[in-house]
C-alpha cells in the first residue's frame, strides 16, 4: 500500500507553509473594523449552521458512483471480510430480517439477512446519472425532497489542503500537505480552525467576530449545542453553549439562588453566593477564567431562556425507527429544533448574524459499520429533513445555510467490518439560498490502484481520497454568503489565493 503521508523531510517542509489561522495579524480587531460597512447593510438575518459528523464520516457509503466500472470497484472493495459493508445496487428491493439473501458471503457461504445487513435497506438512491446516496437518506434525496426541490447540494471531495494537490505532486513529494493527516483531533482542528490541536479560534467564531457590528449583542452571535467547540470560538465572540431541551441554558436554580436560600434572611446569603460564585480575585488565572464562565451563566442564561420559552412553532419531534432494531434517539434533531427556536427570536436576542454549531458523534466506524453508520444516516436524514421543513414553515429557510463537516473521509476499502481514517470527503449543504439538486466540485474517481488490471486512480492515494476542493474554498463560499467582505475572508483564510476556485456556486456570489 502506498504511503500518502509525507516522509519526515517533506513533513518538515509543510510545517512552515501551513500558516496558522490569523497568524498574519491580530485579526480580531481588523475584522471588527473592517465590518463597519457591512453592519449598515446587514438589516436582514442570516445564520450558518455547522453540523459536525464527529469521528469521520464514511463518505463512500454516503454518496457513491454508480457507473458499472465504479460500482464494480466499490463492490470489490467493500463486499469483503466478516461483515461486508457494500450497499445494495440501485433498484434492489429491501429484504426482511432472516430472509435468505441472494448474495453470498465473501467466503462463499450462504447468507441470511441480519437486522444490520445492507440488504434490509434496499438499493442506493440515484441522485444523478452517475451518483447515488445511502438508501436511508430517502427523506433528503428521494422524491419531494430538499434535493429534488433544489435546496440541498452535495460538495464532492472536500478536505484540508495547503495548496492544490495532485497525486503526482504527492508521489513526487513536491506538494505541501497538512500536518497529521488521519489523526482525529488534529484534523478536526484543521477543519475548524486551520491549525493543529491546540488552536483556540475557529472560522465560525472568526466570522462572528467579523460580523460583530451587525449584532446589538454579541452574546448570542455564536452558539454551540455541543459544548466548547473550536469552530464557534472567536477572538472576541464567546460561544454560548446551549442545551437541546428546555431550558436552553442551565441557570443556578432556586435551591441555591432563591431570594433567601436555606432559611437565610434579607437576601444576604443569596448575595454572598452570587458574589462568590463569580469572584475573580486576580490571584489565579484558572480561578478568574472559571469565574468568568460562571458569570456568563448568571448573566445570559435567563435572557436566553425567557426568549426561547416564547419561541413556538417548531414542531415537536417524532420517534424514528432504528434501521437495525427498535427506535432511534433524535439527539441531533433536538439540537436543531432548539436552534430553530433561537433563530426565531433572534431580534429579541439582539442578533442579525448567528453561527451555530451542532455535533453528532459515532462516525468513527472502524468496526460494526453496518449497524452504526446506518443509524447515523437515519438520524441525519430525519434531522436535516426536519430542519428543512421547519425553517420553511417558519420563513427562515432562505436565511439559514446548514452544512456538514467531519474529521475526514474514510478508506474506500473495508477492513472487514468497517473503514479506517481517510482524507477527502463529500459534504452536504442545505438551505433556501442553496443552489440545490447538484453535485459541486469534482466528483472523484473511486478505486484503489491495481484493483483491476492497469487501473490507476488519479484521485486516490492508497485507499484515501485526495481532496480536490479545499476546506477554505468551502468556508469562504459560506462566509461570503454570510456577509463577510473579500478582505475579511482573506484575513481569515490567508492562503485562499493559492486556490483557483473563489466561490463554489452552491451559494450565489453576492451582487456587489
Amino acid at each position: 500500500m502506498s504511503n500518502f503521508l509525507a516522509t519526515r523531510r517533506q513533513f518538515l517542509k509543510i510545517a512552515s507553509a501551513f500558516a496558522p489561522l490569523g497568524a498574519a495579524a491580530p485579526f480580531a480587531f481588523d475584522l471588527a473594523s473592517m465590518s463597519a460597512h457591512a453592519a449598515d447593510a446587514a438589516s436582514d438575518y442570516k445564520a450558518l449552521v455547522c453540523i459536525m459528523l464527529a469521528g469521520g464520516n464514511d463518505c463512500h457509503n454516503t454518496v457513491m458512483a454508480t457507473d458499472a466500472e465504479s460500482w464494480d470497484r466499490y463492490w470489490k472493495a467493500r463486499w469483503v471480510g466478516a461483515d461486508p459493508i457494500a450497499l445494495m445496487p440501485i433498484g434492489k428491493a429491501p429484504l426482511a430480517t432472516r430472509a435468505e439473501s441472494d448474495l453470498k458471503n465473501p467466503d462463499g457461504s450462504a447468507r441470511e439477512v441480519k437486522p444490520s445487513s445492507p440488504e434490509r435497506w434496499g438499493g442506493v438512491i440515484p441522485i444523478t446519472s452517475g451518483q447515488a446516496v445511502h438508501p436511508l437518506l430517502k427523506s433528503l434525496f428521494g422524491s419531494e425532497s430538499p434535493w429534488s426541490q433544489r435546496r440541498l447540494a452535495v460538495l464532492a471531495n472536500v478536505g484540508p489542503l495547503v495548496e492544490p494537490t495532485t497525486k503526482a505532486g504527492m508521489v513526487s513529494r513536491t506538494v505541501r500537505v497538512p500536518h497529521s493527516l488521519l489523526s482525529h483531533n488534529d484534523q478536526v482542528a484543521i477543519w475548524q480552525s486551520s491549525m493543529l490541536e491546540g488552536a483556540r479560534t475557529g472560522w465560525g467564531g472568526a466570522m462572528a467576530d467579523a460580523m460583530t457590528s451587525a449584532n446589538v449583542r454579541s452574546t448570542f452571535a455564536a452558539i454551540s449545542a455541543s459544548g466548547n467547540s473550536l469552530f464557534a470560538a472567536g477572538r472576541e465572540t464567546i460561544q454560548k453553549p446551549i442545551r437541546s431541551s428546555d431550558p436552553a441554558a442551565t441557570t443556578i436554580n432556586n435551591t441555591a439562588q432563591g431570594a433567601n436560600p436555606f432559611g437565610s434572611s434579607n437576601g444576604v446569603a443569596s448575595a454572598s453566593l452570587r458574589e462568590m460564585v463569580q469572584a475573580a480575585r486576580a490571584v489565579s488565572d484558572f480561578e478568574d477564567d472559571y469565574a468568568e464562565i460562571t458569570r456568563r451563566a448568571l448573566s445570559d442564561a435567563a435572557t436566553l431562556n425567557a426568549a426561547v420559552a416564547k419561541s413556538t412553532g417548531a414542531a415537536a419531534l417524532t420517534t424514528i425507527p432504528d434501521p437495525v432494531t427498535g427506535n432511534l434517539n433524535t439527539t441531533l434533531a433536538a439540537q436543531l429544533r432548539m436552534i430553530i427556536r433561537i433563530m426565531k427570536v433572534a431580534p429579541e436576542l439582539g442578533v442579525r448574524r448567528q453561527v451555530f454549531f451542532v455535533s453528532i458523534g459515532g462516525f468513527d466506524t472502524h468496526g460494526s459499520q453496518n449497524t452504526s453508520h446506518s443509524r447515523l444516516m437515519a438520524q441525519l436524514d430525519y434531522a436535516l429533513s426536519y430542519f428543512d421543513a421547519q425553517t420553511r414553515a417558519l420563513d427562515l429557510a432562505d436565511k439559514v445555510t446548514l452544512f456538514t463537516m467531519s474529521d475526514f473521509g474514510r478508506t474506500f476499502t473495508s477492513n472487514g467490518s468497517g473503514t479506517d481514517h481517510g482524507w477527502g470527503a463529500h459534504h452536504l449543504v442545505l438551505g433556501g439560498a442553496v443552489a440545490g439538486g447538484r453535485i459541486f466540485g469534482a466528483f472523484p474517481t473511486l478505486g484503489v490502484d491495481g484493483q483491476s488490471p492497469g487501473f490507476q486512480n488519479p484521485d486516490m492515494l492508497g485507499r484515501v481520497l485526495i481532496p480536490s476542493t479545499s476546506v477554505f474554498e468551502y468556508a469562504t463560499t459560506l462566509g461570503r454568503w454570510f456577509g463577510l467582505s473579500e478582505t475579511q475572508l482573506r484575513t481569515i483564510f490567508p492562503s485562499l489565493s493559492r486556490f483557483g476556485q473563489e466561490n463554489i456556486d452552491f451559494l450565489p456570489r453576492p451582487i456587489s
Partner: protein, 782 residues
C-alpha cells in the same frame, strides 16, 4: 536519648540541614550521599544523569548495602533489546529507533551542560563514610542506628520488592530548591510512633543550634552553581522556608495535608486528614503505595449485582453502566486505598474506553468494561509495559478501538487490517505525535521543525501486528464471523484477555517505529505483539509523554519542563534499573517540590481545575456522605462535564494540550488547562446546583446524603463553622473575601435564642458549604 530506632530514618534530615547551614549546598549533598551509604569509599563522583547527580539510595535493601545507585544497569527494562531479535537492521524511515531512555545512567558520559563541573560532587564535604550510622554529627546525638538497611523502614511501604528511588540533586537549581528536593526524597519515612512532635522540636532545636554560629566551613570550591547560596549563610527566610518544609513532611499543616489529599485522593475526609497528619506527607504516600489490591472492581460489581437483584447468573440482561457507576462511587468515596483509585481514574483518562461506545454500554456487556477498569486499578502501581500489554489484550479495548476480531489482510491486498488501535496506541497511550525532549517539550529538528514520531506507514505496519485477537474460548480456527463478532461473549470470555488466533494473524512483513518484523511462513501473534509492545514501551517519548499527563491529572496543568523531566527520569529508571515503574513515578510526582511547595500556588498559572467527578467525591467525602441503601445508584455527573469511564471519545473529556479560547486570561498566555475544555456556563451552573442539592437533600437523583452533624455542632459559631468547612475543602487556606462572605451568609440564618435550633444550624452548615464549594477559589486546586 529518646529517639527510637524507628525514628532513625529521619536522621539524614539533620545531617542535610547541617550541610546546608554550614554554608554550602555541596556539603548537604555529600552528607546525604554519605548517609545513604552511596559513594562507596567516597572517592568517586556520583554518576550524572543529565544534570542530576545520583547521590544515594533511600533503600539500599538488606542485601545490597555496598551497591549504591550509580551501578544500576543500563538496560532500561526487562525487555532488553531495543531492536528485538527478528528485526532487521533496515531503518525504513524517520521514526526514531527505540533506544534506552536518555536519562538512563550510562556511566560517566559527556558532562551535561547544566552540570557545574566534574569536581562538584566530591567537594570538601565531610568524608563520606560508607556507613551512614557512622556519620559524624554535631546535632543532638541520636542513638546509633542499626544500620543502613533500616533506612527503608518496612512501614514506609518501600517493600523489598520495590527498591526506593535514588536521591537526586540537580545542581542547576537554586540552593533552596536543591536542599528541599533532597530532603523530600529523604524523608519518606513516616512517623509511626506518634512522636512526631517531639521529633520536630528536636529537629528545630538542632537546626537552630547549628544555625547560630553559622560559620562558613570552607569556601565553595565551585562558584558556578546558579544559586544564591554559594558559601554564604542562607538568609533567615530560606531557613524559615526550610523549616516549614521539613515540618510539613513530618508534621504537616492543614494546607499541606489538604493539598496532598486533593492531588492524591478523591478529596479530604476528616479521617484521611488525620491519617496524613499522623503519617506525614511522604509517609502517607508510601503507605498508600504499599496498599495491595484488595477487591477487584469485578468482584465488587458482581457482589453488588447479587445484592441488588438477588440473582445469579451474572452477564444477564439488564445490567447497565449505572451499575458500574454504583461500584465506582462507593469505592471512590469509601475505599482506604485512595491513591490507587485516584491513579486508576487518571489512567482511565489516558487509556480511554467509554460507555459512549454502544457495544460497551449494551446490556450484558458491562462486566467487560468493569474488567477493563480492573486492568487500570491493578496496574496503577505496577509497570507500564504490563499495563500496556493488558490494555492491548483487553476485550473492552478490543471493542472500543476495534482490534477485537481484526483479521490479517486479504491475499489480494485490497482489504487491509483495521488501523484503529495501531494508531491510537501510539498517538494516545504511549508516544504521541511528536518527538519529545526528556522534559516533555517538543523536540525540534535541525530546521527548527517538530519531528513526527510515526508515519501512516508505521500505522499500517503496526496494524498487522494487532491482528488475530478476539474473545477467548472460540474454536481454535474460528470462521470469519465468529472471530469478528463484537457481541459480548458470555461467561469467562467476557472478562478474560483476548485470545490469540494465529490463523487470523498477518504473516507479512511489519514495519513500524524503526522495527521490522520480517515476513514469516507461520504466524506468531504472541511474538509479534511482544516485539511491537516492547518497541513502543521503550520509545524515549513514553516517559515524558505519560509522566506529563499523570502530573496533569494529579497536580498541575502546566508542570515545568524540569518537573516533567524529574518524573520522566524515574519512569526511565526507578533507581533499581527498572523502566516504567508506575509506583515510583507516582511517588515522584507527588513528592516533587513542584507538587509540595504550597508557595507554588501563588503563581497565577499553577494548579488545575478540580475535575468535576473528583469535586463531587470530595464533597461527599468531606461531609461523610453515604448512600442510604448502600448501592450508590444514579450518581450521574455528565452534566458537570465528566463521568467515570464515559468520555466522549478516545480523546478523553479534554486534551492534555487544551488552551482555553476567546478572551480568557489563560488563553491569552497560551496556558494549558485541559479541564476547561469541558467547562461551559452550563456545567458551571450545574455544579452550583449539584452542591445545593447535595447539602439540601441528597446528591441529585440519588440517596447519597451528607452527614453534617459535626458542622451543625459548631454552627452557633459562624467563624468556627467556616473554618471547619475551609479546612475540609481548602486545606484551611481561605481568602478573607470568601471567609467574610461565607460568614455573612451563615449569619443571615438567625439562631433562635431558645427552642430547637437544629434546623437553623443545619441551614448554616449548608450555606457555608454551598458558598465555599461553588467558589472558583475552591474549584481550582492550587
Amino acid at each position: 536519648m529518646i529517639m527510637s530506632a524507628k525514628n532513625f530514618p529521619r536522621l539524614p534530615v539533620l545531617v542535610a540541614a547541617r550541610g546546608l547551614l554550614s554554608g554550602t549546598a555541596l556539603l548537604a549533598v555529600c552528607a546525604l550521599a554519605a548517609c545513604g551509604g552511596g559513594g562507596g569509599d567516597g572517592s568517586s563522583a556520583p554518576e550524572r544523569q543529565f544534570g542530576a547527580v545520583v547521590v544515594a539510595k533511600t533503600d539500599p535493601g538488606p542485601a545490597s548495602p555496598s551497591n549504591p545507585g550509580p551501578s544500576t544497569p543500563t538496560d532500561p527494562g526487562p525487555a532488553s533489546p531495543s531492536s528485538p531479535g527478528p528485526s532487521t537492521p533496515t531503518d525504513p524511515g524517520p521514526a526514531p529507533p527505540p533506544s534506552p531512555a536518555p536519562s538512563t545512567p550510562t556511566g560517566p558520559g559527556p558532562a551535561p551542560p547544566s552540570n557545574p563541573g566534574p569536581s562538584t560532587p566530591t567537594g570538601p564535604a565531610p568524608a563520606p563514610p560508607a556507613n551512614p550510622g557512622a556519620t559524624p554529627s554535631t546535632v543532638p546525638a541520636p542513638p546509633t542506628p542499626a544500620g543502613p538497611s533500616e533506612t527503608g523502614s518496612p512501614a514506609t511501604g518501600q517493600s523489598t520488592s520495590t527498591p526506593g528511588p535514588q536521591l537526586k540533586d540537580d545542581p542547576s537549581l537554586p540552593l533552596l530548591d536543591r536542599i528541599l528536593s533532597v530532603l523530600r526524597q529523604f524523608v519518606p519515612m513516616s512517623s509511626t510512633d506518634g512522636s512526631a512532635t517531639s521529633l520536630w522540636d528536636r529537629l528545630k532545636a538542632a537546626i537552630t543550634q547549628v544555625l547560630a554560629p553559622a560559620p562558613p566551613v570552607t569556601p565553595d570550591p565551585d562558584p558556578t552553581p546558579p544559586s544564591s547560596g554559594g558559601g554564604a549563610t542562607p538568609p533567615p527566610s530560606i531557613i524559615d522556608t526550610l523549616l516549614e518544609a521539613i515540618r510539613d513532611l513530618l508534621e504537616p499543616s492543614d494546607l499541606a495535608v489538604g493539598r496532598l489529599l486533593s492531588q492524591a485522593s478523591f478529596g479530604a475526609s476528616p479521617a484521611s486528614i488525620e491519617e496524613v497528619k499522623s503519617k506525614g506527607l511522604a509517609g502517607w504516600v508510601d503507605a498508600q503505595l504499599a496498599m495491595p489490591v484488595t477487591t477487584t472492581y469485578l468482584d465488587a460489581y458482581d457482589l453488588r449485582w447479587r445484592d441488588v437483584n438477588n440473582a445469579f447468573p451474572l452477564n444477564e440482561p439488564g445490567q447497565l453502566q449505572n451499575d458500574f457507576y454504583g461500584v465506582w462511587w462507593k469505592r471512590a468515596v469509601n475505599d482506604p486505598d485512595q491513591l490507587r483509585h485516584r491513579v486508576a481514574f487518571a489512567l482511565s483518562q489516558i487509556f480511554v474506553v467509554s460507555f459512549n461506545e454502544p457495544d460497551l454500554a449494551s446490556s450484558g456487556s458491562i462486566r467487560t468494561s468493569v474488567a477493563y477498569y480492573d486492568v487500570l486499578y491493578r496496574n496503577a502501581f505496577g509497570d507500564y509495559r504490563t499495563l500496556l500489554d493488558e490494555v492491548t489484550r483487553s476485550p473492552a479495548m478490543g471493542i472500543y478501538l476495534s482490534h477485537l476480531g481484526n483479521s490479517k489482510e486479504d491475499a489480494n491486498g485490497v482489504r487491509t487490517p483495521d488501523e484503529n488501535y495501531a494508531r491510537e496506541v501510539m498517538q494516545l497511550f504511549s508516544i504521541g505525535l511528536w518527538k519529545l525532549n526528556a522534559d516533555g517539550t517538543v523536540a525540534l529538528g535541525a530546521d527548527d521543525q517538530p519531528i513526527a514520531t510515526y508515519s501512516s506507514e508505521d500505522v499500517s505496519g503496526l496494524a498487522k501486528v494487532f491482528t488475530g485477537l478476539s474473545w477467548s474460548g472460540l474454536a481454535k480456527v474460528p470462521n470469519d464471523r465468529t472471530f469478528a463478532a463484537r457481541a459480548v461473549a458470555t461467561g469467562a470470555s467476557a472478562t478474560s484477555p483476548m485470545e490469540i488466533y494465529d490463523s487470523r494473524h498477518s504473516t507479512s512483513e511489519k514495519r513500524f517505529l524503526g522495527t521490522v518484523i520480517p515476513a514469516s511462513a507461520t504466524p506468531d501473534t504472541a511474538g509479534d505483539l511482544k516485539i511491537a509492545l516492547d518497541a513502543i514501551a521503550n520509545h524515549p517519548n513514553v516517559g515524558p509523554f505519560i509522566s506529563r499527563q499523570l502530573i496533569q491529572r494529579l497536580v498541575t496543568s502546566n508542570p515545568s519542563p524540569a518537573y516533567v523531566k524529574r518524573v520522566a527520569e524515574v519512569f526511565a529508571n526507578d533507581g533499581a534499573g527498572k523502566r516504567g515503574n508506575l509506583k515510583a513515578v507516582v511517588r515522584t510526582i507527588l513528592l516533587d517540590r513542584e507538587a509540595r511547595d504550597a508557595a507554588r500556588g501563588d503563581s497565577r498559572v499553577y494548579g488545575k481545575l478540580r475535575e468535576p467527578v473528583i469535586r463531587t467525591a470530595h464533597l461527599i467525602r468531606s461531609f461523610s456522605g453515604q448512600s442510604m441503601n448502600g448501592l450508590w445508584q444514579n450518581v450521574r455527573t455528565s452534566a458537570l462535564g465528566q463521568e467515570p469511564l464515559t468520555a466522549p471519545s478516545v480523546f478523553n473529556f479534554w486534551r492534555p494540550g487544551f488552551v482555553p479560547g476567546g478572551a480568557t486570561k489563560l488563553g491569552g498566555q497560551a496556558i494549558t488547562a485541559p479541564e476547561f475544555q469541558a467547562m461551559t456556563s452550563l456545567t458551571n451552573a450545574e455544579w452550583a446546583n449539584h452542591v445545593a442539592s447535595a447539602v439540601a437533600t441528597a446528591v441529585p437523583g440519588t440517596d447519597v446524603k451528607l452527614d453534617l452533624s459535626r458542622e451543625i455542632a459548631i454552627a452557633g459559631d459562624s467563624a468556627a463553622l467556616v473554618e471547619r468547612v475551609a479546612m475540609l475543602l481548602l486545606g484551611g487556606r481561605i481568602s478573607s473575601g470568601l471567609r467574610s462572605a461565607t460568614i455573612r451568609a451563615v449569619e443571615s440564618v438567625a439562631l433562635p435564642n431558645a427552642g430547637d435550633t437544629s434546623a437553623a444550624r443545619a441551614n448554616r452548615a449548608r450555606l457555608a458549604i454551598l458558598v465555599i464549594a461553588t467558589s472558583p477559589e475552591y474549584v481550582v486546586q492550587r
